[in-house]
């Protein structure tokens, strides 16, 4: 175990996997000499050279499509997209390329690439640099989507993603990079894709959250505890494929659910969680599932406006109280 920042845990995973497998390489904007705007790839160009760590032009659309075919021809590309807000530029490569060929050419090719990006708001980056577009990504067949919150999961899930035979979108959050935590060392620390994590177990209400919202959910649980409400907090970790078993088990116990995601509400990822619970847990529910997500409007810049739209502990706690009322 070592105490590390989230960004350092990612860096360690990249270094270990690139050392372990010469077919792994990285490309993206400013990831080389500069080490990435969030310093996740710091030092890697010096260590692995300019062929395996590439600074690129600003060409998200082509780069994503290139990751798809590079992955089908023997390498394991890791593409960094600087902000999740630029994911729309990657959509054709994901929806019409990556999604399709794993099925059409099954048995002929694998597609082991990882697309790392970071989203989320709270620091005044404005409407084009603060979004969480999770539902766009989780809607795409054949593509896995993970979103670790702890440094340990950041490392373990990134290693799992790099070794996975399918495309994996790896969602980071700009407010998580400096988070510190214990991280297991060495090659064998792999966190399986498709398994949720029980952050704290409770009996009254289940709070299912993703990415930084897990931290807000933990804070909400503390607020609820003050009122004697015993909340179970579950970090989904993988958005697709979803760990349905963990969701069912928790709701069977608590009979109340709050779903939290930082993306927009309508057709957002929280909507799918609500619908999945409707499909599989209806009879266990004593109250409707409560959605806590971004209001359906662009993200404003000014502090009082931005902080008003982003989901937080208070909103989550209020939703839990509504569920239990």
């Amino acid at each position: 175990m070592a105490m590390m920042r989230y960004a350092e845990a990612l860096n360690a995973a990249l270094r270990e996997e690139m050392t372990r497998d010469p077919s792994v390489f990285m490309f993206g904007e400013d990831i080389g000499r500069y080490g990435g705007v969030f310093k996740v790839s710091k030092g890697l160009m010096d260590e692995f050279g300019e062929s395996r760590i590439r600074d690129t032009p600003i060409s998200e659309q082509a780069m994503t499509a290139m990751a798809v075919t590079a992955a089908m021809t023997g390498t394991r590309p890791i593409l960094e997209i600087m902000y999740a807000d630029f994911i729309p530029l990657c959509m054709d490569a994901l929806v019409n390329q990556a999604s399709v060929f794993g099925y059409l050419w099954e048995g002929q090719v694998n597609m082991p690439f990882v697309l790392r990006t970071q989203g989320g708001g709270g620091v005044g980056t404005g409407a084009q640099h603060a979004k969480s577009l999770d539902s766009f990504l989780a809607h795409i067949p054949g593509i896995k989507v993970v979103a670790p919150v702890t440094p340990a999961d950041a490392k373990g899930l990134l290693k799992a993603a790099i070794r996975d035979p399918q495309p994996v979108i790896f969602l980071e959050h700009k407010l998580l990079y400096n988070l510190r935590g214990e991280v297991p060392e060495g090659d064998d620390h792999i966190v399986p894709i498709g398994k949720a994590r029980i952050v704290q177990s409770g009996k009254d209400v289940s709070i299912f959250a993703t990415s930084k919202m897990v931290i807000e959910a933990e804070a909400a649980a503390k607020l609820l505890a003050k009122d004697g409400i015993d909340a179970e907090v579950i970090d989904l970790r993988t958005l697709r494929p979803l760990d349905l078993a963990s969701i069912k088990a928790s709701i069977a116990k608590t009979h109340h659910a709050v779903v939290v995601n930082e993306g927009w509400t309508f057709c957002g990822y929280a909507a799918e969680l609500s619908a999945t619970i409707m499909d599989h847990c209806f009879d266990d529910l004593d109250a409707p599932v409560m959605r806590v997500a971004m209001p359906d409007m662009p993200i404003p810049y000014s502090e009082p406006l931005e902080l008003a739209v982003i989901p937080n502990a208070a909103k989550i706690a209020a939703a839990a109280r509504r569920a239990l009322a």
Binding site: S51, S99, P241
Partner: protein, 322 residues
């Protein structure tokens, strides 16, 4: 002639061009009879571009093509029977009937693959070339794409990166003068698209797309350059689309006056003439006869093959196994 095809290769180019032509003619008839499914995009008159270009590459080189890719499929060495089976939606097709005629692939011979998103072939080949460079292989990747595709943004991003990193890739622009129903001048203000290569620091050149020998030579030279580590090349092959956009094209915009001179320059006729001088008329006729046999057998067998049975594709699914 430098990088010229051997006589053996010319015979094979000729054979594959005839296979392609006959494949499409038969499909055209079946389409009229309502025996095919979905639109079919024929490359009649363009066979030399796909066939000769692929023949100039190694089997382990990578090639990708467009919605109009029959000549590239056959040119790269795919089996006519399994091509027909895929187009007829059979279990024995290259994609088990999942793909259809626009999306065939055969990774075992570097055919990856067809693509029905216009422009998608350029980053696809660029990504393969990136993989080749990272793995320090001596392979080459080639994208065959149209004049319409040349106007897509992704073409620009791809050629810029290919030029920047000196990637082993060939951009083969198949200029058949039409993007769907509109002529190239309605899509771009310049006539010769290859001049854009200068903006990407790579050589650009023009070739007669209806002359198989010329096609073979320029592609062979570009491949040699790429293998020498000198990077990408943009080749514009001038040709013409003889059979309309697709089987669902209502036509009416390609005039006979426009088409006549191109019909006279049929690439199969041109290659037949060249070959006759080299191996004699009988040998050339025999190539055609053998090709005809092969294509007839391909349809007979493929049409007797079973349809696939539906199964949910678990790896694409949204829930983890419990």
């Amino acid at each position: 002639m430098q990088n010229a095809p051997s006589i053996e290769e010319q015979r094979e180019i000729h054979r594959r061009m005839i296979l392609t032509r006959r494949l499409e003619e038969i499909l055209g008839v079946m389409a009229k009879e309502g025996k095919t499914r979905g639109p079919l995009h024929r490359c009649d008159g363009q066979e030399a571009v796909g066939v000769a270009a692929c023949m100039a590459l190694r089997v382990d080189d990578y090639v990708c093509t467009t919605h109009r890719g029959h000549h590239v499929y056959v040119g790269k060495g795919m089996d006519a029977r399994r091509i027909v089976a895929e187009i007829m939606g059979r279990e024995t097709g290259y994609c088990k009937g999942r793909g259809g005629h626009m999306l065939l692939g055969d990774a075992s011979i570097g055919m990856i693959g067809g693509n029905a998103i216009v422009g998608a072939g350029l980053p696809a080949a660029t990504g393969m070339a990136l993989s080749i460079q990272v793995l320090k292989q001596d392979r080459v990747a080639m994208a065959v794409f149209g004049d319409g595709a040349a106007q897509t943004g992704i073409a620009h991003e791809s050629m810029n990166m290919a030029g920047l990193w000196k990637l082993p890739v060939i951009f083969l622009l198949e200029n058949n003068q039409y993007g769907l129903t509109v002529r190239q001048e309605v899509q771009s203000p310049i006539e010769d698209l290859f001049i854009r290569a200068a903006g990407y620091g790579m050589p650009g050149l023009k070739v007669d797309g209806n002359d198989p020998v010329a096609m073979y030579q320029v592609v062979a030279e570009a491949a040699a350059r790429a293998r020498r580590g000198e990077g990408a090349t943009l080749i514009e092959a001038k040709t013409y689309r003889m059979q309309g956009f697709s089987t669902s094209d209502m036509g009416g915009y390609q005039s006979e006056a426009e088409m006549a001179p191109w019909r006279d320059r049929d690439p199969i006729r041109i290659s037949a003439d060249t070959l006759t001088a080299l191996i004699g008329a009988d040998a050339v006729a025999q190539i055609a006869a053998e090709a005809e046999e092969e294509i007839q057998a391909a349809f007979t067998h493929a049409l007797a093959d079973p349809f696939p049975v539906y199964e949910f594709h678990t790896p694409s699914g949204a829930y983890a196994e419990e």
